[in-house]
Protein backbone atom coordinates (compact mmCIF):
# COMPACT_ATOMS: atom_id res chain seq x y z
CA UNK A 1 0.00 0.00 0.00
CA UNK A 2 2.87 2.39 0.71
CA UNK A 3 3.74 4.68 -2.13
CA UNK A 4 7.29 4.68 -3.52
CA UNK A 5 7.70 8.22 -2.20
CA UNK A 6 6.83 7.20 1.32
CA UNK A 7 9.15 4.23 1.09
CA UNK A 8 11.97 6.47 -0.03
CA UNK A 9 11.25 8.73 2.93
CA UNK A 10 11.48 5.70 5.24
CA UNK A 11 14.79 4.70 3.75
CA UNK A 12 16.13 8.22 4.16
CA UNK A 13 15.01 8.28 7.79
CA UNK A 14 16.72 4.95 8.45
CA UNK A 15 19.95 6.17 6.85
CA UNK A 16 19.83 9.37 8.85
CA UNK A 17 19.32 7.43 12.08
CA UNK A 18 22.24 5.13 11.33
CA UNK A 19 24.42 8.12 10.49
CA UNK A 20 23.66 9.83 13.80
CA UNK A 21 24.14 6.62 15.76
CA UNK A 22 27.27 5.41 13.96
CA UNK A 23 29.89 6.45 16.56
CA UNK A 24 27.92 4.61 19.22
CA UNK A 25 27.23 1.55 17.05
CA UNK A 26 30.97 1.13 16.51
CA UNK A 27 31.78 1.90 20.15
CA UNK A 28 29.29 -0.48 21.68
CA UNK A 29 30.34 -3.31 19.34
CA UNK A 30 34.10 -2.93 19.71
CA UNK A 31 34.29 -1.88 23.36
CA UNK A 32 31.36 -3.74 24.87
CA UNK A 33 29.83 -6.61 22.87
CA UNK A 34 33.05 -8.02 21.43
CA UNK A 35 34.98 -8.01 24.74
CA UNK A 36 31.95 -9.38 26.59
CA UNK A 37 31.69 -12.37 24.25
CA UNK A 38 35.44 -12.74 24.40
CA UNK A 39 35.30 -12.80 28.22
CA UNK A 40 32.76 -15.63 28.12
CA UNK A 41 35.10 -17.51 25.75
CA UNK A 42 38.16 -16.98 27.96
CA UNK A 43 36.27 -18.14 31.05
CA UNK A 44 36.41 -21.66 29.55
CA UNK A 45 40.06 -21.43 28.48
CA UNK A 46 43.40 -21.75 30.15
CA UNK A 47 45.42 -18.79 28.87
CA UNK A 48 48.43 -17.03 30.36
CA UNK A 49 48.77 -14.43 27.63
CA UNK A 50 51.82 -16.09 26.04
CA UNK A 51 51.03 -19.67 25.02
CA UNK A 52 47.89 -20.34 22.92
CA UNK A 53 44.61 -20.77 24.86
CA UNK A 54 43.52 -24.33 25.76
CA UNK A 55 39.94 -25.47 26.45
CA UNK A 56 39.50 -26.42 30.12
CA UNK A 57 35.73 -26.62 30.51
CA UNK A 58 34.55 -25.47 33.91
CA UNK A 59 37.96 -25.62 35.60
CA UNK A 60 38.32 -21.82 35.89
CA UNK A 61 34.87 -21.61 37.44
CA UNK A 62 35.51 -24.27 40.05
CA UNK A 63 38.94 -22.74 40.78
CA UNK A 64 37.49 -19.29 41.46
CA UNK A 65 34.58 -20.56 43.58
CA UNK A 66 36.39 -23.19 45.63
CA UNK A 67 40.17 -22.66 45.52
CA UNK A 68 40.90 -18.99 44.88
CA UNK A 69 41.42 -17.62 48.41
CA UNK A 70 40.28 -14.08 47.59
CA UNK A 71 36.85 -14.69 46.07
CA UNK A 72 34.65 -15.25 49.13
CA UNK A 73 36.35 -12.59 51.28
CA UNK A 74 35.79 -10.10 48.45
CA UNK A 75 32.13 -11.08 48.18
CA UNK A 76 31.69 -10.80 51.96
CA UNK A 77 33.31 -7.36 51.95
CA UNK A 78 31.00 -6.29 49.12
CA UNK A 79 28.01 -7.40 51.17
CA UNK A 80 29.31 -5.45 54.18
CA UNK A 81 29.79 -2.34 52.06
CA UNK A 82 26.31 -2.67 50.55
CA UNK A 83 24.66 -3.00 53.96
CA UNK A 84 26.70 -0.49 55.97
CA UNK A 85 28.33 1.96 53.57
CA UNK A 86 25.44 2.36 51.13
CA UNK A 87 22.76 2.79 53.81
CA UNK A 88 24.88 5.18 55.88
CA UNK A 89 25.58 7.22 52.77
CA UNK A 90 21.86 7.48 51.98
CA UNK A 91 20.91 8.42 55.55
CA UNK A 92 23.77 10.91 55.87
CA UNK A 93 23.13 12.36 52.40
CA UNK A 94 19.48 12.89 53.24
CA UNK A 95 20.39 14.45 56.59
CA UNK A 96 22.89 16.85 55.04
CA UNK A 97 20.43 17.64 52.25
CA UNK A 98 17.73 18.51 54.81
CA UNK A 99 20.17 20.54 56.87
CA UNK A 100 21.24 22.63 53.89
CA UNK A 101 17.61 23.42 52.95
CA UNK A 102 17.09 24.77 56.50
CA UNK A 103 20.25 26.89 56.73
CA UNK A 104 19.43 30.59 56.32
CA UNK A 105 22.71 32.36 57.12
CA UNK A 106 25.79 31.58 55.06
CA UNK A 107 23.95 29.04 52.90
CA UNK A 108 26.37 29.49 50.02
CA UNK A 109 29.40 28.85 52.23
CA UNK A 110 27.91 25.72 53.80
CA UNK A 111 26.76 24.32 50.45
CA UNK A 112 30.25 24.70 48.98
CA UNK A 113 31.93 23.29 52.10
CA UNK A 114 29.68 20.23 52.11
CA UNK A 115 30.05 19.65 48.39
CA UNK A 116 33.78 20.18 47.89
CA UNK A 117 35.13 16.84 49.23
CA UNK A 118 33.10 15.00 46.58
CA UNK A 119 35.38 16.59 43.99
CA UNK A 120 38.67 15.51 45.57
CA UNK A 121 40.30 13.00 43.17
CA UNK A 122 39.87 9.51 44.72
CA UNK A 123 43.59 8.75 44.92
CA UNK A 124 44.32 12.09 46.59
CA UNK A 125 41.35 11.79 48.95
CA UNK A 126 42.30 8.24 49.93
CA UNK A 127 45.93 9.18 50.58
CA UNK A 128 44.77 12.11 52.68
CA UNK A 129 42.58 9.83 54.79
CA UNK A 130 45.33 7.26 55.24
CA UNK A 131 47.42 10.11 56.62
CA UNK A 132 44.62 11.65 58.73
CA UNK A 133 43.72 8.26 60.19
CA UNK A 134 47.19 6.81 60.57
CA UNK A 135 47.34 5.23 64.03
CA UNK A 136 50.72 6.66 65.06
CA UNK A 137 50.70 10.38 64.35
CA UNK A 138 47.43 11.04 62.51
CA UNK A 139 45.36 14.08 63.53
CA UNK A 140 42.19 11.97 63.97
CA UNK A 141 43.61 9.71 66.68
CA UNK A 142 45.40 12.73 68.09
CA UNK A 143 42.06 14.41 68.70
CA UNK A 144 40.33 11.20 69.84
CA UNK A 145 43.13 10.68 72.39
CA UNK A 146 42.88 14.24 73.64
CA UNK A 147 39.20 13.79 74.50
CA UNK A 148 39.79 10.35 76.01
CA UNK A 149 38.24 8.19 73.31
CA UNK A 150 39.74 4.91 72.00
CA UNK A 151 42.14 5.26 69.08
CA UNK A 152 41.48 2.54 66.49
CA UNK A 153 44.04 1.23 64.01
CA UNK A 154 41.83 2.33 61.07
CA UNK A 155 43.41 1.30 57.74
CA UNK A 156 45.92 -0.93 59.56
CA UNK A 157 43.35 -2.99 61.49
CA UNK A 158 41.16 -5.50 59.61
CA UNK A 159 38.23 -4.71 61.93
CA UNK A 160 38.49 -0.96 61.24
CA UNK A 161 39.58 -0.72 57.59
CA UNK A 162 36.05 -0.85 56.18
CA UNK A 163 34.71 1.68 58.72
CA UNK A 164 37.61 3.92 57.68
CA UNK A 165 36.62 3.53 54.02
CA UNK A 166 33.04 4.32 55.05
CA UNK A 167 34.20 7.57 56.67
CA UNK A 168 35.95 8.45 53.43
CA UNK A 169 32.73 7.70 51.50
CA UNK A 170 30.67 9.87 53.88
CA UNK A 171 33.16 12.69 53.44
CA UNK A 172 32.40 12.67 49.69
CA UNK A 173 28.63 12.89 50.14
CA UNK A 174 28.25 15.93 47.82
CA UNK A 175 26.52 14.10 44.96
CA UNK A 176 23.75 12.71 47.17
CA UNK A 177 23.42 16.01 49.02
CA UNK A 178 22.65 17.87 45.79
CA UNK A 179 20.17 15.24 44.59
CA UNK A 180 18.32 15.16 47.92
CA UNK A 181 18.38 18.93 48.19
CA UNK A 182 16.70 19.29 44.79
CA UNK A 183 14.05 16.70 45.60
CA UNK A 184 13.33 18.19 49.05
CA UNK A 185 12.70 21.58 47.47
CA UNK A 186 10.18 19.92 45.15
CA UNK A 187 7.94 18.70 47.99
CA UNK A 188 4.72 20.81 47.81
CA UNK A 189 4.64 23.30 50.70
CA UNK A 190 0.83 22.96 51.07
CA UNK A 191 1.32 19.39 52.25
CA UNK A 192 3.49 20.59 55.14
CA UNK A 193 0.98 23.31 55.99
CA UNK A 194 -1.91 20.86 55.90
CA UNK A 195 0.01 18.45 58.14
CA UNK A 196 0.82 21.25 60.62
CA UNK A 197 -2.84 22.26 60.76
CA UNK A 198 -3.67 18.65 61.59
CA UNK A 199 -1.27 18.95 64.50
CA UNK A 200 1.62 16.93 63.09
CA UNK A 201 4.99 17.45 64.80
CA UNK A 202 8.35 17.68 63.04
CA UNK A 203 8.93 13.93 63.09
CA UNK A 204 5.45 13.15 61.78
CA UNK A 205 5.82 15.73 59.01
CA UNK A 206 9.07 14.03 58.00
CA UNK A 207 7.53 10.54 58.13
CA UNK A 208 4.20 11.25 56.45
CA UNK A 209 5.02 14.14 54.08
CA UNK A 210 8.74 14.30 53.29
CA UNK A 211 9.55 10.62 53.00
CA UNK A 212 6.65 9.57 50.73
CA UNK A 213 7.42 12.49 48.42
CA UNK A 214 11.12 11.73 48.04
CA UNK A 215 10.94 7.92 48.18
CA UNK A 216 11.76 7.52 44.43
CA UNK A 217 14.97 9.49 45.02
CA UNK A 218 15.82 7.37 48.07
CA UNK A 219 15.41 4.24 45.96
CA UNK A 220 17.52 5.79 43.20
CA UNK A 221 20.25 6.59 45.75
CA UNK A 222 20.20 3.07 47.18
CA UNK A 223 20.38 1.26 43.83
CA UNK A 224 23.01 3.53 42.29
CA UNK A 225 24.93 3.17 45.56
CA UNK A 226 24.85 -0.62 45.23
CA UNK A 227 26.00 -0.38 41.61
CA UNK A 228 28.82 1.95 42.66
CA UNK A 229 29.86 -0.62 45.27
CA UNK A 230 30.22 -3.23 42.50
CA UNK A 231 32.71 -0.82 40.89
CA UNK A 232 34.49 0.08 44.15
CA UNK A 233 38.15 -0.21 43.23
CA UNK A 234 40.46 2.79 43.61
CA UNK A 235 39.83 3.70 47.27
CA UNK A 236 40.23 0.22 48.84
CA UNK A 237 43.22 -0.60 46.64
CA UNK A 238 45.09 2.66 47.26
CA UNK A 239 44.24 2.59 50.98
CA UNK A 240 45.62 -0.93 51.28
CA UNK A 241 48.75 -0.09 49.33
CA UNK A 242 49.56 3.14 51.15
CA UNK A 243 48.72 1.82 54.63
CA UNK A 244 50.80 -1.31 54.12
CA UNK A 245 53.72 0.70 52.80
CA UNK A 246 53.98 -1.43 49.63
CA UNK A 247 53.82 1.09 46.85
CA UNK A 248 55.75 2.18 43.90
CA UNK A 249 55.04 2.08 40.22
CA UNK A 250 55.54 -0.95 38.09
CA UNK A 251 57.31 -4.09 39.14
CA UNK A 252 56.45 -4.17 42.81
CA UNK A 253 53.85 -6.81 43.60
CA UNK A 254 51.15 -5.97 46.07
CA UNK A 255 48.85 -8.62 47.53
CA UNK A 256 45.54 -6.78 47.51
CA UNK A 257 43.24 -6.59 50.52
CA UNK A 258 45.62 -5.29 53.21
CA UNK A 259 45.04 -5.71 56.12
CA UNK A 260 44.16 -9.42 56.00
CA UNK A 261 41.90 -9.33 52.92
CA UNK A 262 39.62 -6.83 54.68
CA UNK A 263 39.66 -4.34 51.79
CA UNK A 264 39.29 -6.80 48.92
CA UNK A 265 36.53 -6.02 46.42
CA UNK A 266 35.50 -7.91 43.27
CA UNK A 267 37.07 -5.51 40.71
CA UNK A 268 40.43 -5.93 42.47
CA UNK A 269 40.21 -9.67 41.84
CA UNK A 270 40.03 -9.13 38.08
CA UNK A 271 43.27 -7.17 38.32
CA UNK A 272 44.89 -9.65 40.67
CA UNK A 273 44.04 -12.69 38.55
CA UNK A 274 44.42 -11.18 35.08
CA UNK A 275 47.37 -8.87 35.53
CA UNK A 276 49.32 -10.19 38.51
CA UNK A 277 48.80 -13.95 38.22
CA UNK A 278 48.37 -14.02 34.42
CA UNK A 279 45.30 -16.21 34.86
CA UNK A 280 43.08 -14.88 32.07
CA UNK A 281 40.48 -17.61 32.62
CA UNK A 282 40.03 -16.92 36.33
CA UNK A 283 39.90 -13.17 35.73
CA UNK A 284 37.17 -13.74 33.12
CA UNK A 285 35.09 -15.77 35.59
CA UNK A 286 35.22 -12.98 38.19
CA UNK A 287 34.46 -10.43 35.46
CA UNK A 288 31.31 -12.36 34.53
CA UNK A 289 30.18 -12.60 38.16
CA UNK A 290 30.68 -8.84 38.41
CA UNK A 291 28.75 -8.37 35.16
CA UNK A 292 25.83 -10.46 36.42
CA UNK A 293 25.63 -8.54 39.70
CA UNK A 294 25.86 -5.12 38.04
CA UNK A 295 23.15 -6.03 35.52
CA UNK A 296 20.89 -7.45 38.22
CA UNK A 297 20.84 -4.15 40.10
CA UNK A 298 20.56 -2.13 36.90
CA UNK A 299 17.46 -4.16 36.01
CA UNK A 300 15.99 -3.41 39.43
CA UNK A 301 16.70 0.28 38.92
CA UNK A 302 14.97 0.37 35.54
CA UNK A 303 12.03 -1.70 36.71
CA UNK A 304 11.25 0.24 39.83
CA UNK A 305 11.79 3.58 38.26
CA UNK A 306 10.03 3.50 34.93
CA UNK A 307 10.54 7.25 34.74
CA UNK A 308 14.30 6.68 34.64
CA UNK A 309 14.18 6.51 30.85
CA UNK A 310 11.87 9.50 30.58
CA UNK A 311 8.76 9.66 28.47
CA UNK A 312 8.29 11.55 25.28
Amino acid sequence: MTSPGLRRKHRQDALRTVAFLSPWLIGVSVFFLYPLISTVYFSFMRYDGFTPPVWTGLKNWSYVFSDYPFFWPALRNTLWLVIVMVSLRVVFGLGIGMLITKVKTGAGFFRTAFYLPYLAPPVAATMSFVFLLNPGTGPANNILGAIGLPQPGWFNDPAWSKPALTLLALWGIGDLMVIFMASLLDVPLEQYEAASLDGAGAWQRFWFVTLPNISPIVLFAVVTGVIATMQYYTQPLVAGKVASGVIGGSGQQFEPGYPEKSTLTLPQLVYNLGFQRFDTGGASVVALVLFALAMLFTAILMRRRSGFLGND
Binding site: S38, T105, A124, V242, G249, Y271, F291
Partner: protein, 294 residues
Protein backbone atom coordinates in the same frame (compact mmCIF):
# COMPACT_ATOMS: atom_id res chain seq x y z
CA UNK B 1 2.27 25.61 67.90
CA UNK B 2 1.11 29.18 68.47
CA UNK B 3 -2.52 30.10 68.19
CA UNK B 4 -3.46 33.46 66.80
CA UNK B 5 -7.18 32.88 66.54
CA UNK B 6 -8.12 34.66 69.77
CA UNK B 7 -7.07 38.27 69.68
CA UNK B 8 -6.69 40.38 72.70
CA UNK B 9 -3.72 42.70 72.11
CA UNK B 10 -1.84 41.29 75.12
CA UNK B 11 -1.93 37.63 74.11
CA UNK B 12 -0.99 38.54 70.57
CA UNK B 13 2.23 40.21 71.62
CA UNK B 14 3.30 37.42 74.01
CA UNK B 15 2.46 34.86 71.35
CA UNK B 16 4.55 36.85 68.90
CA UNK B 17 7.47 36.96 71.29
CA UNK B 18 7.12 33.23 71.90
CA UNK B 19 7.17 32.53 68.15
CA UNK B 20 10.24 34.70 67.69
CA UNK B 21 11.98 32.85 70.49
CA UNK B 22 11.16 29.44 68.97
CA UNK B 23 12.37 30.63 65.60
CA UNK B 24 15.62 31.91 67.13
CA UNK B 25 16.25 28.62 68.95
CA UNK B 26 15.55 26.77 65.73
CA UNK B 27 18.04 29.02 63.92
CA UNK B 28 20.69 28.33 66.58
CA UNK B 29 20.11 24.56 66.42
CA UNK B 30 20.27 24.41 62.61
CA UNK B 31 23.39 26.55 62.37
CA UNK B 32 25.23 24.70 65.16
CA UNK B 33 24.59 21.46 63.30
CA UNK B 34 25.75 23.08 60.06
CA UNK B 35 28.97 24.28 61.69
CA UNK B 36 29.65 20.81 63.11
CA UNK B 37 29.08 19.27 59.68
CA UNK B 38 31.29 21.91 58.04
CA UNK B 39 34.12 20.95 60.42
CA UNK B 40 33.84 17.32 59.31
CA UNK B 41 34.03 18.33 55.64
CA UNK B 42 36.66 21.05 55.89
CA UNK B 43 39.07 19.86 58.61
CA UNK B 44 40.62 17.08 56.46
CA UNK B 45 41.64 19.71 53.90
CA UNK B 46 43.02 21.92 56.67
CA UNK B 47 45.11 19.17 58.28
CA UNK B 48 46.45 18.06 54.89
CA UNK B 49 47.43 21.64 54.06
CA UNK B 50 49.05 22.24 57.47
CA UNK B 51 51.07 19.02 57.23
CA UNK B 52 52.13 19.87 53.69
CA UNK B 53 53.85 22.99 55.02
CA UNK B 54 55.74 21.36 57.91
CA UNK B 55 59.45 20.54 58.04
CA UNK B 56 60.45 16.91 57.35
CA UNK B 57 61.04 16.26 61.06
CA UNK B 58 57.89 17.90 62.32
CA UNK B 59 55.71 15.98 59.85
CA UNK B 60 56.70 12.81 61.68
CA UNK B 61 55.39 14.09 65.01
CA UNK B 62 51.84 14.36 66.33
CA UNK B 63 51.92 18.17 65.95
CA UNK B 64 48.97 19.74 64.15
CA UNK B 65 50.41 23.22 63.61
CA UNK B 66 53.66 23.95 61.71
CA UNK B 67 56.44 25.56 63.83
CA UNK B 68 57.94 27.04 60.71
CA UNK B 69 56.18 27.38 57.37
CA UNK B 70 57.87 25.50 54.55
CA UNK B 71 56.25 26.84 51.41
CA UNK B 72 59.21 25.49 49.46
CA UNK B 73 57.70 21.99 49.90
CA UNK B 74 55.26 22.83 47.12
CA UNK B 75 58.16 23.84 44.88
CA UNK B 76 60.08 20.67 45.78
CA UNK B 77 57.12 18.56 44.69
CA UNK B 78 56.60 20.57 41.53
CA UNK B 79 60.26 20.04 40.59
CA UNK B 80 60.25 16.33 41.35
CA UNK B 81 61.33 14.46 38.21
CA UNK B 82 58.22 13.29 36.44
CA UNK B 83 55.70 15.53 38.14
CA UNK B 84 55.47 17.94 35.22
CA UNK B 85 55.18 15.01 32.78
CA UNK B 86 52.31 13.49 34.77
CA UNK B 87 50.67 16.88 34.75
CA UNK B 88 50.97 17.18 30.97
CA UNK B 89 49.75 13.61 30.39
CA UNK B 90 46.72 14.15 32.62
CA UNK B 91 45.86 17.38 30.82
CA UNK B 92 46.18 15.68 27.43
CA UNK B 93 44.03 12.76 28.55
CA UNK B 94 41.36 15.06 30.01
CA UNK B 95 41.23 17.59 27.17
CA UNK B 96 41.29 15.09 24.29
CA UNK B 97 38.97 12.69 26.12
CA UNK B 98 36.42 15.40 26.84
CA UNK B 99 36.51 16.77 23.29
CA UNK B 100 36.14 13.34 21.70
CA UNK B 101 33.30 12.43 24.04
CA UNK B 102 31.32 15.56 23.26
CA UNK B 103 31.73 15.39 19.51
CA UNK B 104 30.74 11.71 19.33
CA UNK B 105 28.01 11.60 21.98
CA UNK B 106 25.90 14.63 21.06
CA UNK B 107 24.47 13.27 17.76
CA UNK B 108 23.75 9.91 19.41
CA UNK B 109 21.94 11.53 22.33
CA UNK B 110 19.96 13.63 19.86
CA UNK B 111 18.92 10.59 17.83
CA UNK B 112 17.88 8.71 20.97
CA UNK B 113 15.85 11.68 22.20
CA UNK B 114 14.20 12.68 18.90
CA UNK B 115 14.08 9.98 16.22
CA UNK B 116 11.55 7.20 16.27
CA UNK B 117 13.03 3.94 15.01
CA UNK B 118 12.81 0.24 15.61
CA UNK B 119 15.20 -0.92 18.32
CA UNK B 120 15.36 2.44 20.03
CA UNK B 121 14.44 0.95 23.40
CA UNK B 122 17.03 -1.79 22.99
CA UNK B 123 19.60 0.88 22.21
CA UNK B 124 18.62 2.81 25.32
CA UNK B 125 18.87 -0.28 27.49
CA UNK B 126 22.34 -0.95 26.07
CA UNK B 127 23.41 2.60 26.85
CA UNK B 128 22.26 2.23 30.45
CA UNK B 129 23.80 -1.24 30.78
CA UNK B 130 27.20 0.00 29.58
CA UNK B 131 26.88 3.03 31.85
CA UNK B 132 26.46 0.80 34.91
CA UNK B 133 29.16 -1.65 33.85
CA UNK B 134 32.31 -1.80 35.99
CA UNK B 135 35.24 -1.22 33.59
CA UNK B 136 36.91 -4.36 34.96
CA UNK B 137 34.30 -6.60 33.30
CA UNK B 138 35.74 -6.21 29.81
CA UNK B 139 39.32 -5.28 30.71
CA UNK B 140 41.00 -8.61 29.89
CA UNK B 141 40.01 -8.78 26.20
CA UNK B 142 40.39 -5.00 25.89
CA UNK B 143 43.95 -5.17 27.19
CA UNK B 144 44.79 -8.00 24.79
CA UNK B 145 43.28 -5.93 21.97
CA UNK B 146 45.25 -2.76 22.70
CA UNK B 147 48.48 -4.35 23.87
CA UNK B 148 48.83 -7.42 21.63
CA UNK B 149 46.95 -6.41 18.47
CA UNK B 150 47.71 -2.70 18.33
CA UNK B 151 50.92 -2.49 20.43
CA UNK B 152 49.64 0.57 22.26
CA UNK B 153 50.34 -0.39 25.87
CA UNK B 154 52.59 2.07 27.66
CA UNK B 155 50.52 4.96 26.27
CA UNK B 156 47.23 6.62 27.16
CA UNK B 157 45.72 6.08 23.70
CA UNK B 158 43.76 2.95 24.74
CA UNK B 159 41.90 5.28 27.12
CA UNK B 160 41.47 8.25 24.78
CA UNK B 161 40.53 6.57 21.49
CA UNK B 162 37.37 4.81 22.81
CA UNK B 163 36.00 8.21 23.79
CA UNK B 164 35.80 9.08 20.09
CA UNK B 165 33.18 6.32 19.97
CA UNK B 166 30.90 7.83 22.64
CA UNK B 167 30.56 7.51 26.37
CA UNK B 168 27.40 5.97 27.81
CA UNK B 169 26.98 8.30 30.77
CA UNK B 170 27.37 11.37 28.56
CA UNK B 171 24.79 10.05 26.07
CA UNK B 172 22.38 9.36 28.90
CA UNK B 173 22.77 12.76 30.54
CA UNK B 174 22.54 14.67 27.24
CA UNK B 175 19.48 12.71 26.16
CA UNK B 176 17.70 13.42 29.44
CA UNK B 177 18.22 17.11 28.82
CA UNK B 178 17.32 17.05 25.11
CA UNK B 179 13.97 15.46 25.98
CA UNK B 180 13.04 18.67 27.78
CA UNK B 181 13.55 20.86 24.69
CA UNK B 182 10.18 21.31 22.94
CA UNK B 183 9.97 19.59 19.55
CA UNK B 184 8.42 22.71 18.01
CA UNK B 185 11.74 24.53 17.85
CA UNK B 186 13.26 21.85 15.64
CA UNK B 187 10.11 21.55 13.53
CA UNK B 188 10.08 25.30 12.95
CA UNK B 189 13.71 25.18 11.84
CA UNK B 190 12.90 22.35 9.45
CA UNK B 191 10.05 24.32 7.94
CA UNK B 192 12.62 27.05 7.31
CA UNK B 193 14.59 24.52 5.28
CA UNK B 194 17.11 23.24 7.81
CA UNK B 195 18.14 19.60 7.62
CA UNK B 196 18.18 17.48 10.78
CA UNK B 197 21.90 17.99 11.35
CA UNK B 198 21.73 21.73 10.77
CA UNK B 199 18.78 21.98 13.16
CA UNK B 200 20.83 20.14 15.78
CA UNK B 201 23.82 22.45 15.41
CA UNK B 202 21.95 25.74 15.00
CA UNK B 203 18.92 25.34 17.27
CA UNK B 204 19.38 22.50 19.74
CA UNK B 205 23.04 22.88 20.73
CA UNK B 206 22.73 26.49 21.89
CA UNK B 207 19.71 25.52 24.00
CA UNK B 208 21.50 22.50 25.45
CA UNK B 209 24.51 24.51 26.62
CA UNK B 210 24.01 23.75 30.36
CA UNK B 211 23.87 20.00 29.73
CA UNK B 212 26.90 20.13 27.43
CA UNK B 213 28.83 22.07 30.07
CA UNK B 214 27.88 19.50 32.70
CA UNK B 215 28.91 16.58 30.50
CA UNK B 216 32.21 18.26 29.65
CA UNK B 217 32.94 18.84 33.34
CA UNK B 218 32.02 15.30 34.35
CA UNK B 219 34.16 13.80 31.61
CA UNK B 220 37.08 16.09 32.43
CA UNK B 221 36.86 15.04 36.08
CA UNK B 222 36.54 11.39 35.11
CA UNK B 223 39.78 11.53 33.11
CA UNK B 224 41.57 13.57 35.76
CA UNK B 225 40.59 11.10 38.49
CA UNK B 226 40.95 7.87 36.54
CA UNK B 227 43.29 5.46 38.30
CA UNK B 228 42.36 2.06 36.92
CA UNK B 229 42.84 2.97 33.23
CA UNK B 230 46.38 4.37 33.58
CA UNK B 231 47.24 1.50 35.95
CA UNK B 232 46.35 -1.05 33.26
CA UNK B 233 47.80 0.63 30.19
CA UNK B 234 50.46 3.07 31.37
CA UNK B 235 52.03 1.49 34.46
CA UNK B 236 54.91 -0.05 32.48
CA UNK B 237 56.00 3.36 31.16
CA UNK B 238 56.51 6.19 33.70
CA UNK B 239 56.64 8.70 30.84
CA UNK B 240 52.92 8.03 30.27
CA UNK B 241 51.77 8.20 33.90
CA UNK B 242 49.02 10.55 34.98
CA UNK B 243 48.82 12.55 38.22
CA UNK B 244 46.40 10.12 39.88
CA UNK B 245 48.66 7.20 39.09
CA UNK B 246 51.93 8.99 39.75
CA UNK B 247 50.78 10.38 43.09
CA UNK B 248 50.79 6.92 44.59
CA UNK B 249 54.33 6.20 43.46
CA UNK B 250 55.33 9.57 44.86
CA UNK B 251 54.40 8.22 48.29
CA UNK B 252 56.54 5.18 47.56
CA UNK B 253 59.57 7.30 46.79
CA UNK B 254 59.07 9.61 49.80
CA UNK B 255 57.69 7.12 52.26
CA UNK B 256 58.92 8.93 55.35
CA UNK B 257 57.91 12.39 54.14
CA UNK B 258 54.23 12.92 54.90
CA UNK B 259 54.76 16.63 54.30
CA UNK B 260 55.88 16.19 50.68
CA UNK B 261 53.22 13.54 50.05
CA UNK B 262 50.50 15.84 51.36
CA UNK B 263 51.92 18.73 49.31
CA UNK B 264 51.68 16.52 46.21
CA UNK B 265 48.13 15.55 47.18
CA UNK B 266 47.20 19.22 47.44
CA UNK B 267 48.70 19.94 44.03
CA UNK B 268 46.59 17.14 42.51
CA UNK B 269 43.40 18.37 44.19
CA UNK B 270 43.91 22.06 43.43
CA UNK B 271 43.05 22.19 39.71
CA UNK B 272 39.79 20.29 40.18
CA UNK B 273 38.72 22.55 43.01
CA UNK B 274 39.65 25.71 41.12
CA UNK B 275 37.70 24.46 38.11
CA UNK B 276 34.72 23.87 40.38
CA UNK B 277 34.67 27.46 41.60
CA UNK B 278 34.58 28.67 38.01
CA UNK B 279 31.82 26.30 36.94
CA UNK B 280 29.86 25.68 40.12
CA UNK B 281 26.43 26.25 38.61
CA UNK B 282 26.91 23.97 35.62
CA UNK B 283 28.20 21.27 37.90
CA UNK B 284 25.36 21.29 40.40
CA UNK B 285 22.84 21.37 37.55
CA UNK B 286 24.50 18.32 36.04
CA UNK B 287 24.36 16.30 39.26
CA UNK B 288 20.70 17.18 39.65
CA UNK B 289 20.02 16.15 36.07
CA UNK B 290 21.41 12.65 36.64
CA UNK B 291 19.16 11.94 39.58
CA UNK B 292 15.96 13.87 39.33
CA UNK B 293 14.98 14.38 35.73
CA UNK B 294 12.69 11.87 34.08
Amino acid sequence: MTSTTLTSPVTLSTAGREARRTRFLHWVAVHSLAIAAALFFVLPFVFVALTALMSDQQALTRDLWPDTWHWENLKTVWNTPGFLTWWKNTLMYAVLGTTFTLVSSIPVAYALARFKFRGRNVALMLVIATMMLPPQVVIVPMYLFWAKELQLSGTLWPLIIPMAFTDAFSIFLLRQFLLTIPKDYVDAAKVDGCGEFKALVRIVLPMARPAIAAVALFQFFYCWNDYFGPQIYASENPAAWTLSYGLESFKGAHHTNWNLTMAATLLVMAPVIILFFFAQKAFIEGVTLTGVKG
